[in-house]
């Protein structure tokens, strides 16, 4: 990407983020958008964003695709690898060449078997707390430049404020209440994807896209659409079939 288009994209991203944060927004949707945007701006191919759960483990909350194989690599990253190191230290970690990264054999093997050669992890942090990490994967070898690391960090910082803003941040307890809300949204979305997988015969990535498209077209949050799908108040299997036949 040339420097000019990149800067244009970057300022557009900040404007969009600022707009989102003043409106009623959906946390999972915001995080998915963030990870998609960062993937493009930083010239990587896929990405995922993980938040810490009450047991202190990282849970995947948003990713550039909900394809089962990608989700598996991203979940692997919650167990070992640069993303976990980033979470533990609160500092960005960039690995330019996974084939020479001997610290995390299982993770490196898994990522490389899917064609990825470098990975960049950015912490989501607020003051002293680290609440998760954003992880970008590239099929190319090479470390992120310091200015790219700074760009990822700036976007992640604004998103973190977004996640935690709904209430005044007074204590770590309230921070975890917001986190819990995001983690709950993710469980609801998974349950709703299951409903669509059964009623429309979709795979999980396609099911997610049907939910997201409906949410956008009806100006609703992913969470409320997921709620309605699970309660069988709305039936998206027709939308799904239409989408399927359109390719």
């Amino acid at each position: 990407m040339t420097k000019h288009t990149r800067e244009t994209k970057l300022s557009a991203a900040f404007v969009k983020l600022a707009d989102t944060l003043v409106a009623d927004f959906d946390v999972v949707d915001l995080l998915r958008w963030l990870v998609e945007e960062c993937t493009q701006i930083l010239d990587t191919q896929v990405g995922g964003l993980m938040l810490v759960d009450p047991a202190g483990e990282l849970q995947l909350v948003a990713s550039t695709s909900e394809d089962a194989e990608l989700v598996e690599i991203l979940q692997l990253a919650a167990g070992e690898g640069p993303c976990l190191d980033c979470f533990r230290t609160g500092k960005p970690v960039t690995v330019g060449d996974l084939s020479t990264a001997n610290d995390w054999p299982e993770f490196s093997r898994g990522a490389m078997s899917h064609g990825f050669h470098s990975v960049h992890a950015t912490p989501l942090r607020l003051r002293g707390d680290v609440i998760g990490t954003m992880n970008l994967f590239s099929v190319h070898v090479g470390e992120l430049a310091p200015e790219d690391i700074a760009v990822a960090q700036a976007l992640a910082d604004v998103a973190t404020i977004g996640i935690l803003q709904e209430r005044t941040i007074r204590s770590s307890h309230l921070i975890s209440e917001q986190l819990q809300f995001a983690l709950d949204s993710r469980i609801l979305i998974e349950q709703a994807k299951g409903v669509l997988a059964a009623t429309a015969g979709l795979n999980m990535d396609a099911a997610f896209n049907v939910i997201r498209t409906y949410a956008r077209n009806h100006n609703q949050t992913l969470r409320s659409v997921a709620d309605d799908v699970i309660a069988r108040k709305i039936d998206l299997s027709q939308d799904a079939l239409a989408k399927k036949s359109n390719g």
Partner: protein
């Protein structure tokens, strides 16, 4: 109502106080008990913080009535800020027993995993008093935060499984939630019942819930009738 006597020890509750602790630490309450319930209304006491909390839990189980059951059925917080002023229409027998204990107020917090209610936490205060809106939302958030750990602990002890897995992985990876959604559509039922069926199937076949869930997601197993 059915329960396996082995699941409920003689003292009515296991003494693992950690899941009660966040409630005691963050809310103006005296005691708490955490109970995992499934759709057939069998009950598994996970922990109680003191003997009164444990007795309240036991009474709800014994009489099949009390705020816990309402919280499980509705997925909503149930508040009884003053036991003396309560009309006790909903739970007459339970109420007449509880009034003999030093209980001024009762709250029941559903434990939710997405759209599934896996059980409830009963909180009591020795004197009457309500929870503020902020405290109510904290109570619900803590209920969701401990849900998977509570159900995992109940399942582990039901299966007599000593495997030292962490409470959230891999047992509650995405497949379990996706399978719950698929089963609820297949059976045209609620998320809570679908999850119960998944759990019951795993239990009956001596398998881990995530293995069964994976079969459902891969369409190797269907619950359609």
């Amino acid at each position: 109502m059915a329960t396996d006597p082995d699941l409920v020890p003689a003292d009515g509750a296991r003494t693992e106080p950690d899941l009660c602790h966040p409630f005691l630490q963050n809310l103006p309450i005296t005691g708490a008990s955490v109970t995992v319930v499934n759709a057939s209304r069998s009950q598994h006491s996970v922990c109680s913080s003191d003997s009164i909390a444990s007795r309240v839990d036991e009474l709800q189980f014994e009489f099949g009535e009390g705020p816990q059951w309402k919280a499980v059925a509705t997925g909503e917080l149930v508040v009884v800020p003053d036991m003396a002023a309560d009309l006790h229409g909903d739970w007459p027998i339970f109420w007449s027993e509880v009034r003999q204990l030093a209980v001024g107020a009762l709250f029941a917090v559903p434990m939710r995993m997405g759209a599934v209610t896996v059980g409830a936490v009963t909180l009591y205060r020795s004197s009457p008093g309500d929870l503020s809106p902020e405290q109510r939302s904290s109570a619900l958030a803590i209920g969701s935060a401990i849900a998977s750990a509570a159900v995992h602990r109940a399942m582990r002890s039901a299966l007599d499984d000593d495997e030292d897995e962490s409470p959230t992985s891999p047992a509650f990876r995405r497949e379990v939630h996706q399978a719950t959604g698929m089963i609820l559509a297949q059976l045209n039922t609620t998320a809570t019942i679908a999850y119960s069926r998944l759990q019951a199937y795993a239990f009956a076949h001596g398998r881990h819930i995530q293995d069964v869930a994976r079969d459902v997601v891969n369409r190797d197993l269907t619950f359609e009738e």
